[in-house]
Symmetry: C2
Subunit: 672 residues, 2 copies
């Protein structure tokens, strides 16, 4: 249809169909214009909105078209107008892997005509010519419809074409015809959204997971613990209700420049070294430290975990000790200094001579990428599909994007947790590049305002579509100042906050439940006698363990779907800045949980909590019950303004399940 330049001076019209009058804009959700996938988990509905508009006053119609990668055909769902040119539709995602959706829109000629016909009929105008237009529209639809529908449509056509214009108009305005036409109307000059938005669908564990980290080598009592010892610990971990068991690197540990206890520059004889100094004569990233066991032990442990409903997670730390086999096999993967030596890790003036970083600017970058992906593939073959990735922010984004896509194409169940404690844009980019979950700044968000504004950022901005937070009160590297000074009440408060503010959370134990709070020195967030450099003998049966609280918190998480997503996290006003309160509810409000945490580890704090009863679907007149899932205590509340008091020496938090008053047919009241 494109024509040559006009005789005056114009240039050619575009080659595309200039009759595409509908435009589609602002398709949501969408990360960076479709450059990165939106993340969902199996069972979710993707709620799509878009601006769909055309010139003039014609009625527009739109569908969301979606398919899984590899599928040839699109499935469609009709979008509904929300007003102001915004349209919405949703579709379920059940199959893991990469999907995509786009929006297709067109002028709905029949709906436009029908709308105008109705107004003409109402004004008593002669509609005979208009009915003839309708006949043409129906005939056009019948021409491209399946046989049965075409027959049906032609019956309607004949009714419009009859002698009685009044009967014809009545037929024309029949909703049954409108529905039939909506299903079979041609879509002349339809427009597709510029972008097909990719959606990555993970297994539900990607969003909702409770992690437990431990050092296997500390499980041996007075000897070096083994992977077999970990199997012995599984019953306790399962009883506490964890979903993921994460082990620091299990590989042989370098001897050269090995660090001593408490990160001393030199190891003493017998010092075990840091598990992150990977590689020794016994092997590198695909070997197991002889003192821990064998690759077969990992496989057996993964199986044992699976039987208890736990996923085993290994650590991926792409760096080498000077004794790693790659240092001699692939010297080109390391950066060399002019004197021929290999450059060790540094943050001048600090030197980490026990670690050689990999050089991602190596001429053989492609070979290095493949080798690293092969490491992941090796452990996948041993039954491990969850990986906690150490310092991903010191390796290129492009590498992660390729590697994670490469692995998950065949193994979409794989989960990668990014351990990047760094600048916001870097953490966000890693999440966009494909990391399933991300460590966060949670450990350093302790005040009420800090928590509220950080959670706002995570749950109410673009991050919600690609950045899945995993909240850790402690890690082997992080024992914050409040944790060093606040004692058991702070540990309890931080546990409840982590486990209820984020669908995924984790603790480093048994240090956590045993309230290990001794820092290396004032101002340091390192543990004293850190397991990173030595064995520890934990007495998990010691009195005062937080194990019962951990168990109760995890049980509450599993029992209450409201706690399994951050979709509807809403902070609630309390007239006391030491108390933080928030609700979560399921979409249908069938499950509502209210958490109140005392941030003060020293004093009893009390205040009045505001609840928007109507918004939560709670009867504003009668009483309702709040059942504390941690203390197993029930209170009867009334109205939207109720008193709470928390003595940190007894309990740092309430996790209330809100039970509405219901009436049976026979007018017995009960709460549910």
């Amino acid at each position: 249809m494109a024509r040559a330049a006009s005789e005056l001076s114009g240039s050619a019209v575009p080659d595309t169909d200039g009759r595409r009058r509908v435009v589609v804009e602002n398709v949501r959700p969408c990360v960076d214009g479709g450059r990165f996938p939106v993340k969902r988990v199996a069972g979710d509905h993707v709620e799509v909105t878009a601006d769909v508009l055309a010139d003039g006053h014609d009625v527009v119609a739109a569908v969301v078209r979606r398919r899984r990668d590899g599928e040839r055909r699109f499935r469609e769902v009709r979008m509904q107008p929300l007003g102001n040119d915004r349209f919405a539709a949703s579709f379920p995602v059940d199959v893991l892997g990469r999907h995509s959706f786009s929006v297709r829109a067109w002028i709905d000629r029949f709906a436009t005509w029908r709308d105008q016909l109705g107004r003409r009929v109402e004004a008593g105008q002669d509609v005979r010519v208009e009915l003839a237009v309708g006949v043409e529209l129906i005939e056009a639809a019948a021409g491209s419809a399946p046989a049965a529908a075409a027959t049906e449509l032609r019956k309607w056509r004949d009714r419009l074409a009859g002698d009685d214009p009044e009967a014809g108009a009545a037929a024309a305005l029949d909703p049954a015809l409108a529905a039939l036409m909506a299903a079979h109307d041609p879509r002349p000059h339809a427009t597709d959204s510029d972008v097909a938005v990719p959606v990555w669908v993970d297994r539900p564990l990607a969003r909702f997971s409770a992690w437990y980290e431990l050092f296997p080598r500390s499980l041996g009592g007075d000897r070096h613990g083994t992977l077999r010892d970990v199997r012995g610990e599984l019953a306790r971990i399962a009883r506490m209700g964890f979903d993921v068991l994460y082990l620091p690197p299990v590989h042989p540990i370098g001897e050269t420049h090995r660090k001593g206890r408490n990160n001393m520059p030199a190891a003493e004889p017998g010092d075990v070294g840091s598990p992150w100094a990977i590689g020794a004569a016994a092997g590198g990233h695909t070997a197991v430290h002889p003192d821990l066991g064998s690759v077969a032990d990992v496989r057996r442990l993964a199986e044992a975990c699976t039987k208890r409903g736990i996923a085993l997670a290994l650590d991926i730390a792409f760096q080498c000790s000077p004794d790693h086999p790659w240092v001699s096999e692939h010297p080109e993967w390391f950066r060399h200094r002019p004197d021929g030596s290999i450059r060790y890790a540094e943050n001048p003036p600090k030197r980490y001579e026990d670690i050689y970083p990999l050089d991602f600017e190596s001429d053989d970058w492609a070979g290095l990428w493949q080798a690293l992906a092969d490491v992941v593939r090796f452990w996948l073959r041993q039954g491990v599909s969850v990986f906690r990735v150490d310092n991903p922010h010191t390796k290129p984004f492009a590498f992660w994007e390729w590697m994670i896509a490469d692995i998950t194409r065949d193994h979409p169940e794989t989960i990668f947790l990014a351990e990047a404690f760094t600048r916001p844009r870097v953490m966000e980019r890693l999440a966009k590049a494909g990391f399933t979950q991300s460590y966060t700044y949670f450990a350093w968000r302790n005040g009420k305002h800090e928590l509220e504004s950080y959670l706002h950022e995570l749950t109410r901005t673009g991050l919600r579509d690609y950045f899945r937070p995993n909240f850790w009160p402690n890690t082997p590297d992080i024992l914050t100042e409040p944790m060093q000074t606040g004692g058991r009440p702070t540990f309890a408060a931080r546990l409840v906050l982590a486990a209820t503010l984020s669908p995924s959370y984790g603790i480093y134990g048994p240090a956590f439940e045993l309230v290990e709070q001794r820092g290396l020195r004032p101002g340091s967030e390192e543990y004293l006698d850190s397991e990173k450099y030595q064995l520890r003998d934990w007495d998990t049966a010691a009195p005062g363990s937080l194990e019962p609280l951990v168990t109760a918190v995890n049980a509450a998480r599993r029992a209450h779907p409201a706690l399994q997503t951050n979709e509807r996290l809403e902070f609630r006003h309390v007239d006391n800045d030491m108390l933080v309160a928030y609700t979560k509810h399921t979409e249908d409000r069938g499950d509502i949980v209210l958490c109140i945490v005392n941030l003060d580890p020293h004093h009893t704090q009390s205040g009045w909590v505001d609840l928007p009863l109507e918004h939560l679907g709670i009867d504003t007149d009668g009483p309702y019950q709040v059942h504390d899932l941690l203390a197993d205590a029930t209170y009867t509340w009334q109205g939207g303004h109720n008193y709470v008091e928390l003595d940190p020496h007894r309990s740092s938090a309430h996790v209330f399940h809100i039970r509405r008053r219901l009436r049976t047919e026979h007018d017995f009241e009960y709460y549910a």
Copy 2:
């Protein structure tokens, strides 16, 4: 460098250079991911920001690369870090037309090395090997630098390579070397932003313009006015200080179904009809109504306007009367009904039988597009380069996008004002599609809160980069209810608001300055005895004309650059909801204007206005002057909290130029 799949099961690495470690995100300004251009005017600086980040802790460097369409070479400007991985740079745009910019970023190896070297030196470490690294870096830069720079660089290299590491380190850390390296350092594995952002540069009139609309046919006294009569009116229009003179359509007017006075369904003999019913035996969109004159008269008028510094604007209304030549010459450009008749304009049950819309779904859409573009080109050849486009929202977005690009490619000075009073997304899309300026909802934003929130939307959201508002208190179609009842004070207030809240504004006169406030009937926004359907004889010399106020307002706009942009519009608190106050200042704060408008046409209103003196660069201790540019009165104020009072029967508004107190060398005080 891409390698075949690894022996295990991986797929190939990407073909691109995997060593591109820097990523560029969130490039601003940017409209819809670069799909539409950002708009600026000649003389502006484009302030670019972007997130630029890499893995690890290496220093990154970035430049903005920009060029005008058609230029082969890019010009570059170095970006500066703002913190948190955000970088900024700006570049001037002087030449009209389409430009584009992108961001290029890379690891700055020398800056990284220099930063680390400094820390090593400070810690007293041996840096001999590091200096050898520096020698390699400098040599690499010299290898690709121009000869003179290479010589210079090699001198530095030799200083680093000398026997004395202390002297070498001092040389290495010399800022002169850093500057030289920044200019000549190679950029290995550089990354370009995904998008090259288009920037459209208009002439300054596109942003800052005062429009005056009049009906030439009313200028004849008791006869039909002519284009020659308009020339006689130019002195008055220029004296009032207008930049653009806009005439409704000047074409022959259809006879068939011509509307009578006050939009009566049938014309009486002698009725002149609506200028928007375009086309008759005498011609169509490229003809001039015989009673107005000839095409040559348009040319002469355009010339006469130019001499007075005024741009002549014509109306582009792409629709036809039944008598338009195209109806017989190009019946395929109109929609036909099954009975063979051409479909006239309708909004059922309303019928506009004097208008045939063009059918943009015509099989010959391409021919139609060319013909319409040729209409614009025809008037460009007559010296007209400003067009007010009637109802653009009833023609396809794709058409406008093509046509405006097609015209402005050769005539970048052309200005198109979109007269679309419709839904927000439609108005926004037209602006994105290329309209230079847009009519707005201003006429219906009368309360203080309404004004503040609408201006927030226009000046603080994405709209600021592509939607240029043009505020009209009245048009021939719009006489709002407040204008019908508020009398002269409302006209004055609306004039000041329009002219100071928006860099572009317009009035329909002489109805405006003569305070024509008679509506057609209660509830209607149509004028009684509207010039759309009949001649009017205006007495512009009548006492009580607002001409002096209009003149003062336009003079203030021209004298004060602060009023020529909306970049720094800020509302100020007044403790009275009938008073609205706002400041505008130039970037250097050399010009500051404070406007205060009384929205109540009946009563004197007073209140205290808050000014953030420090932010505005005003001395917080001493007094300062506010000079009312409308009343030519001066007040001395002190502090950030001052009293104002406006009696609408004397003056509805202050437009204050704020004059700071300055001291001369000899300590005389004066205000400037």
